[in-house]
């Protein structure tokens, strides 16, 4: 084979005479420069952004107090969204990662992830035009459902384990999903009926929404909006826990839920926390839904029944018409900086805690 090998054997490692080799080494240097230049540009943009905002916002600003309701509005909307969306998403992630069969998982996971891509303006549209009028008449139904559904499902689950034949049938994940969905629908009808029976009298006692665009609506829709984000990250984290750990627990006699509860959730906790914080960040920054469905009323009220206005929505509403350099413009910039900082803090916290947990559960 190596006839030409002998030819170069005198200069085993030298580059001097090889034009091809010299060309390769030259190309190598140019590529390195190009790549570094791109990185520098990005760094410039990243650092330039906050700096530019701060520079532009500099100047005297009077009515700072108008920012407070906006800030509260932002936090309120995000809280309600998390309250509804996070448990829903994490439970769904648990099922998908640990109970669903491989085929079902391959179907459901992309489906729910596509959900993430639904533009928020579409959700805003639905919230504003369809959900708001409907919710105005069905508050009791919704609240009842939120309370009853988990209870009823848990009860069904506990009962089903009493009857081995049922349990065995339901061990197949698609039957499980069907059964739970049917139970949900049944609960929905039940709640509707119940609400119809006692709805108006009770509701009017404590629920008098001034507007169909209220915090409950925002909480629900924003909650749904963050479900895919949270689900996707949480599912990845849960599924990423090596199968060997679950095997180990099963081999010790743990049931699936014990395995999940004692082992997988702690092991996936960095991912879950990241999911929580990213969901929170997404909710904070969400503009269109709030813009279209919140009524945009800057009130300082923490209840479910009142409307709200968030920083993001305020920016979208006022920035296009604000005159550059005016006080209003600077106030807008200031609110943007506030929102920016809030998001950064949340993100930095997420990174920190994540890093810490990851070190703790390192080498999985």
């Amino acid at each position: 084979m190596p006839a030409d090998l002998h030819a170069t054997a005198d200069f085993p490692l030298s580059i001097r005479r090889d034009a091809i080799l010299r060309g390769r080494l030259r190309r190598e240097r140019w590529v390195a420069r190009a790549v570094a230049a791109a990185a520098a540009l990005v760094l410039l943009a990243v650092i330039g952004m906050p700096a530019f905002l701060v520079l532009n916002a500099a100047g005297s600003i009077d009515n700072l107090s108008t920012l407070l309701p906006l800030l509260v509005g932002s936090l309120r909307a995000s809280m309600y969204a998390l309250l509804f969306g996070f448990p829903l998403a994490v439970l769904a992630a648990i099922w998908c990662a640990r109970f669903a069969s491989a085929r079902l998982r391959a179907l459901i996971k992309p489906l729910l992830e596509v959900f993430e891509a639904v533009p928020s303006v579409v959700l805003g549209l639905v919230a504003a035009l369809s959900l708001a009028p409907w919710l105005a008449h069905h508050v009791v139904t919704v609240l009842l459902f939120l309370i009853l559904a988990p209870l009823l499902l848990a009860f069904c689950g506990a009962m089903s384990e009493r009857y081995p034949s049922v349990a065995r049938r339901l061990a197949r994940s698609h039957w499980q999903l069907c059964a739970a969905t049917l139970a949900l629908l049944a609960t929905a009808f039940l709640c509707n009926g119940l609400a119809g029976m006692l709805g108006n009298s009770i509701a009017s006692a404590f629920w008098e929404p001034a507007t169909p665009w209220n915090a409950l609506l925002i909480g629900l829709v924003l909650g749904v909006a963050i479900v895919p984000t949270v689900f996707s990250i949480a599912e990845d984290a849960l599924f990423g826990v090596p199968a060997s750990l679950a095997d180990g627990a099963h081999a010790l006699g743990a049931t699936r839920w014990q395995t999940i509860w004692r082992l997988l959730l702690p092991a996936a906790s960095p991912g879950l926390l990241a999911a929580l914080l990213l969901g929170f960040g997404r909710a904070l920054g969400e503009t269109m839904i709030v813009l279209m469905a919140s009524g945009n009323t800057p009130v300082l009220d923490l209840g479910l029944a009142s409307g709200l206005r968030t920083i993001a929505a305020n920016l979208a509403l006022e920035a296009p018409i604000a005159i550059p350099g005016s006080a209003q413009y600077r106030l807008l910039l200031l609110s943007a900086i506030a929102l920016f900082s809030l998001c950064l803090i949340v993100n930095a916290m997420a990174e920190m805690v994540r890093g810490w947990l990851r070190r703790r559960y390192a080498r999985l």
Binding site: G248, L252, G253, A254, P266
Partner: protein, 274 residues
């Protein structure tokens, strides 16, 4: 540990020399096991008897179904979708597929150790206590005791006594594997299944681990899958040779490694191609 001597009703299969297991109690027994993954047959009529308080090795070429067979005994195959098992599997004379069998209890009695050390991402202590807590043990004093006993049995106590609260993941691979063993021992199993438990370890850790296995055989019945013929030779009292979903030969390890009865076994042991 095992009081009742279960005499097998299985008539002597041709894989086993007559009278080899006479008078020994049988810890595990598989009779005519057929196992399918979907439409792929992994086990095709396996007969095997594993004697009590001995180390039995399961050797054979890659993919011949060793791991699949092992998982039959604690029904870990149940966790694999599309896996179907037929045939009789008995643990100390009781059918594991019976209606009255509670899986957690079965798996407590039939411990398992895997190829890759899989300590839980908890402290050393919590790892060992995991199974105990599952079975409802809460008292700290009792837990301490049992954890120590298990760690001692796994020959790990001296190395970790000062760092019980450290993460189990900070241990070396060899220590992790012994920790996993301690975890399995803590729930006081009667039988230990091991699936290539030392294949990820370096030679010295491997020797230590083998030493542990041998020492355990006084109290537990051990069924050990290994790729490493020499390992089987070193630690096992009995050796079973599997090939394409069947146990072809079962014999005392001495006999197997000096004078196997089947041509296939001989070829595998001496590194020949068919």
């Amino acid at each position: 540990m095992i009081e009742s001597v279960h005499k097998s009703v299985l008539q002597e299969s041709p894989t086993t020399p007559a009278g080899l297991l006479d008078g020994m109690s049988i810890a595990l027994e598989a009779r005519d096991i057929v196992l399918d993954y979907g439409s792929d047959r992994a086990l095709n009529g396996v007969h095997l008897q594993v004697p009590s308080a001995r180390v039995t090795a399961l050797v054979g070429p890659s993919g011949c179904g060793k791991s699949s067979l092992l998982r039959c005994f604690n029904r870990l195959n149940d966790e694999i979708p599309d896996c179907r098992v037929r045939g009789v599997v008995q643990v100390q004379g009781r059918d594991v597929h019976g209606d009255d069998v509670a899986l957690p209890e079965l798996r407590r009695r039939v411990g398992m150790v895997f190829q890759r050390p899989n300590p839980f991402p908890l402290s050393v202590y919590e790892n060992v206590a995991f199974g105990l807590r599952l079975s409802g043990l809460r008292k700290r004093r009792l837990l301490d005791e049992r954890v120590e006993t298990a760690l001692r049995a796994a020959a790990l106590w001296d190395e970790v006594r000062d760092r019980l609260e450290r993460s189990a993941l900070s241990l070396s691979a060899g220590q992790q594997q012994r920790l996993v063993m301690a975890r399995a021992l803590a729930v006081e199993p009667e039988i230990l299944l091991m699936d290539e438990p030392a294949s990820m370890l370096d030679p010295i850790s491997t020797l230590k681990f083998e030493e542990l296995v041998v020492s355990l055989a006084q109290r537990y019945s051990v069924l050990l899958v290994t790729h490493n013929m020499q390992q089987a030779a070193r630690v096992a009292d009995f050796t079973a040779f599997m090939h394409s979903g069947r146990v072809l030969e079962f014999d005392a390890t001495d006999a197997m490694f000096t004078n196997p009865r089947l041509r296939q076994t001989e070829d595998y042991i001496t590194g020949k191609l068919r």
